[in-house]
């Protein structure tokens, strides 16, 4: 079972939920797919036993074959390849590695070459749990390749949690694609609700099942509950904001190690999402 944790708005508790659910389960693998700013590893303090470079490909133009027809430049949505007067310019840092320019080139003048764009780290946590995270190199435009790699090497895991990037961009879509269930970490503020609506739209478009955990539920207003009811969306749990929780998180520690209240909530979420046998 693959469960993605996502949010829309940042700072609503994706990582808090992910690492505390991870710690509440006996047999589970977690990937931190927020490769632009991974942070789950700060809480899990695992032991890195392996790391790998992840490459993207970008186009190289053979100017003996190129007729400067301009088709590659017309195709590219990111202005990464621009046919000029006597040669074709390639801005490899703008390239999203879609493969399109090679497909549209009528003279086969385009091939691809590799460029390292980041790394993935394999960690063991405790005796039998695995955690993987990716890190995109600063300046690179897209972490999708790294996220796809993380998901590919964990595709056979029985229970997989995916700490997803915020927002509704390509990275988020890559992280949640193929999930059996998604948990939205929401907060009851106007921004929280507004961004959550976009995530709901995305999940419905992707035809993925989902439920909501309202974090910091004693703050803000109750518009989010009205919205969930109107839309018929499952409310999995509420988690209060408490100053002591903020302190625990700021120290890089797990809420479940300190709070029975949070332990019970995590178990309740696990029962609802994974079933009794996992709790």
């Amino acid at each position: 079972m693959k469960i993605a944790i996502l949010s829309g708005k940042g700072g609503t508790g994706k990582t808090t939920l992910s690492v505390n659910l991870f710690s509440s389960l006996n047999k589970v693998t977690l990937i931190d797919a927020d490769v632009e700013e991974p942070n789950s590893h700060l809480f899990l303090k695992g032991n890195t036993y392996h790391e790998e470079d992840i490459n993207k490909q970008y186009p190289v133009v053979d100017h003996d074959l190129c007729t400067l027809c301009g088709k590659c430049g017309e195709f590219c949505n990111f202005n990464a390849i621009i046919p000029a007067k006597k040669k074709v310019l390639v801005f490899d840092d703008l390239c999203h590695d879609c493969g399109g320019c090679k497909l549209v080139c009528p003279t086969n003048a385009i091939s691809y070459t590799d460029k390292a764009i980041g790394k993935i780290f394999y960690q063991s946590v405790g005796d039998n749990k695995q955690f993987l995270y990716g890190r995109l190199t600063v300046g690179e435009v897209s972490g999708v390749r790294i996220i796809e790699y993380l998901k590919n090497v964990t595709k056979k895991e029985e229970v997989l949690l995916i700490d997803s990037p915020p927002g509704t961009s390509c990275s988020t879509v890559a992280a949640i694609e193929g999930s059996d269930y998604c948990i939205i970490a929401a907060e009851p503020t106007p921004f929280g609700l507004s961004d959550m609506r976009m995530v709901v739209e995305l999940l419905r478009e992707q035809k993925l099942d989902f439920g909501v955990v309202v974090n910091k539920s004693n703050l803000g207003n109750d518009d989010i509950y009205k919205y969930l009811e109107e839309e018929g969306i499952e409310l999995l749990e509420n988690i209060d904001f408490r100053e002591e929780f903020a302190k625990i998180i700021a120290r890089g520690e797990l809420l479940v190690d300190h709070s029975e209240y949070v332990r019970n909530i995590m178990n309740s979420i696990i029962k609802k999402v994974l079933g009794e046998t996992y709790a």
Partner: protein, 119 residues
């Protein structure tokens, strides 16, 4: 010879634009016919890579020289590839004034990027 100028609006009395690739219009002055023509800058709303695309727009307009406020590294590379020379104007001038200053050789040629990219 055709001279491009980054313009905030579409008349010779409009102010020059304060951005290159995100300029609303490109004025193109034809030194043979002595005419101005104005074109929408179709690169201005690009999500990324507007610098290179804006140069492509100027290249397609057959511009030989462009007068600009600032240039990033990708725009410079692209200008070189399109063999377009660039000269830097000061803010607050009209399109016509910037053009006169170019003919009076008061504008410095840009050989390197004046700003870092990726903002």
């Amino acid at each position: 010879m055709k001279i491009g100028i980054c313009a905030s609006d579409h008349t010779p009395e409009s102010l020059v634009a304060n951005r290159f690739a995100r300029a609303p219009y490109f004025a193109v002055y034809n030194s043979e016919t002595l005419d101005f023509a104005f074109f929408n800058n179709t690169a201005k709303d690009e999500g990324s890579g507007a610098g290179g695309k804006a140069v492509k727009v100027l290249g397609d307009l057959k511009v030989d020289i462009v007068l600009v406020p600032e240039l990033g590294p990708k725009a410079i590379d692209a200008l070189n590839a399109f063999e377009i020379k660039s000269y830097q104007y000061k803010q607050g001038k009209t399109v016509r004034e910037a053009l006169y200053e170019y003919f009076e050789k008061k504008l410095p040629e840009m050989l390197d990027a004046s700003v870092k990219g990726k903002h």
